[in-house]
Symmetry: C2
Subunit: 343 residues, 2 copies
Amino acid sequence: MSIPEKALRTFVADLFTAHGTSREHADTIADVLVWANLRGIESHGVSRIPRYLELFASGEANPRPEIGFDQPRSAVATLDADAGPGPVALTRAMDEAVSMARSAGAAWVAVRGTVHTGAIGYYTERAAQYGMAGLGIVAGVPNMAYPGAAGPAVATSPLSIALPAGKHPTVLLDMATAVVALGRIAVLKARGGRLPEGAAVTADGHPTTDPASAAVPLPVGGAKGAGMSLLFDMLAGGLTLNPIVPAFHSGERRHRQNALLMAIDVAAFTPVAEFRRTVDETVEAIKSLPRTDPAAEILVPGERGARCLDERLVSGVPVAAKLAGTLRTLAVESGVSVPEGLG
Amino acid sequence: MSIPEKALRTFVADLFTAHGTSREHADTIADVLVWANLRGIESHGVSRIPRYLELFASGEANPRPEIGFDQPRSAVATLDADAGPGPVALTRAMDEAVSMARSAGAAWVAVRGTVHTGAIGYYTERAAQYGMAGLGIVAGVPNMAYPGAAGPAVATSPLSIALPAGKHPTVLLDMATAVVALGRIAVLKARGGRLPEGAAVTADGHPTTDPASAAVPLPVGGAKGAGMSLLFDMLAGGLTLNPIVPAFHSGERRHRQNALLMAIDVAAFTPVAEFRRTVDETVEAIKSLPRTDPAAEILVPGERGARCLDERLVSGVPVAAKLAGTLRTLAVESGVSVPEGLG
């Protein structure tokens, strides 16, 4: 079944409002989650709603955060998320970064102690919408392997970079530091697919391609992905005095995340139109290369998502039957009306 | 044979001075190259000298660059390398970034049109020596595969992050976006080793583990490494109006590189001692994890290099016989005296 994006957005915002968030914050959360669904990133979309509500119920997430913001110098700031939802904290953080970058040329906002981030590409793409380059990293609770260590050691912490183009969609890299993101493993498990070789190990540390027995995802490129994730935690946790990796391994398992978002004002370096033209020319150069399979188009980061967006803005957002049932139940429990297409 | 690092440094600087660089620039180049040798990164050390001199001879590199520097706003600047050696341009760029970050909190310097960068970890570690976090990316001439494209499409462009620790050595990530860096493939070829599966293809696009027939390295994580490299080129090339990927695929094969270096002043966020303690605690948490092989120590990024440094400061820098012969010939041709250990 499919739901028009506007109806889905209203429904999600109604659900969050019913669970204690302000209408403004509920709208932001809905925008971030539906953004992912529109781009085909089902693992970071409305499928996360039950988990958000669980985190509210357990007290790990705060539906009414008092966000703190401190900008000690022209190009850096810290945003204290007060355990508020990631979409609320990170949207504000990127907007502050964009505003600071207008005067400083670039700005870096460290986000302290949020919960689930959502799709980090949402925030970096937001910078690109202002003609800036956006860059973001997240550090979360360990769930990924590290070379030589048994069990989860570091997190599948993502990196995202978004660059404004001209004729082409925003070029948007959004990658976990794992071979395969956890959300994708869950999707494969639900659909009955297989993992590629080298993507995960079982709880006992044995390699597996079965998503049902995959307990610990492996870092991309071994020491490379693991090293990126480790340094993301040190940097985000060190700057915010909220390190997650050492706390986790001392027994502190509470769900939380830190993040770093950066905006670079292209206009400080060069006319934005020139930058956009360079990005367009680079996209076209790559897409025009001789192909290993003549029938298979060469894609650039963000292109698949942009096409999915175009389709789903017309045809609506598909929601799997099981998830639709869960969302209907949550709606009934919360006294929220269920939109057509979810019923 | 082994050469004391000071003697090697003097020899390298003498060689560059004899080939037209100023003494100050020659000392900087020597420092960057010997830094790599001291840390066991032979592929980015004095083995590159013949190539630098070739680039001077062909006119692709400029031994007497007039470096331009423009800082339009508090946190951003562009450094025009005037085709000067990477060590000269990037050392200056990171020093400027550190100086700017002292007032702005963070700073980003785009380097336009240098040649071989050397080990990018040198520059990011330089920021860490000032108690700052250092971050760097480089964009170079395409030599790596891109998913779906035949032949070299993007570059093995590296990413580096350095974080200051307390008791432990600087945590230093320095990774190519390829599974195995080109320099490492050359080392394996010279020594007769094999590549891991999935690291490279032949000129015809067939997978190979033979370093002698490996023509095109593969990106780490497929679309992930390729995407990072592509966006590094768009960002560095777009901000400096010197894009390499589209020019290369239009037939412009001249050797050149762009780079972006960033310094983040930890002190703007938190006392540096606290940050160092967090980094130490994280290092210790990772190294203390249960091991998959109890006999194999868990390492953090930069640890192997720091140990190699400690050893080589005492025992000297080993130089393979063939390279020593090449360097002796260059020395004789240039009227430079050959140090003991290379003779």
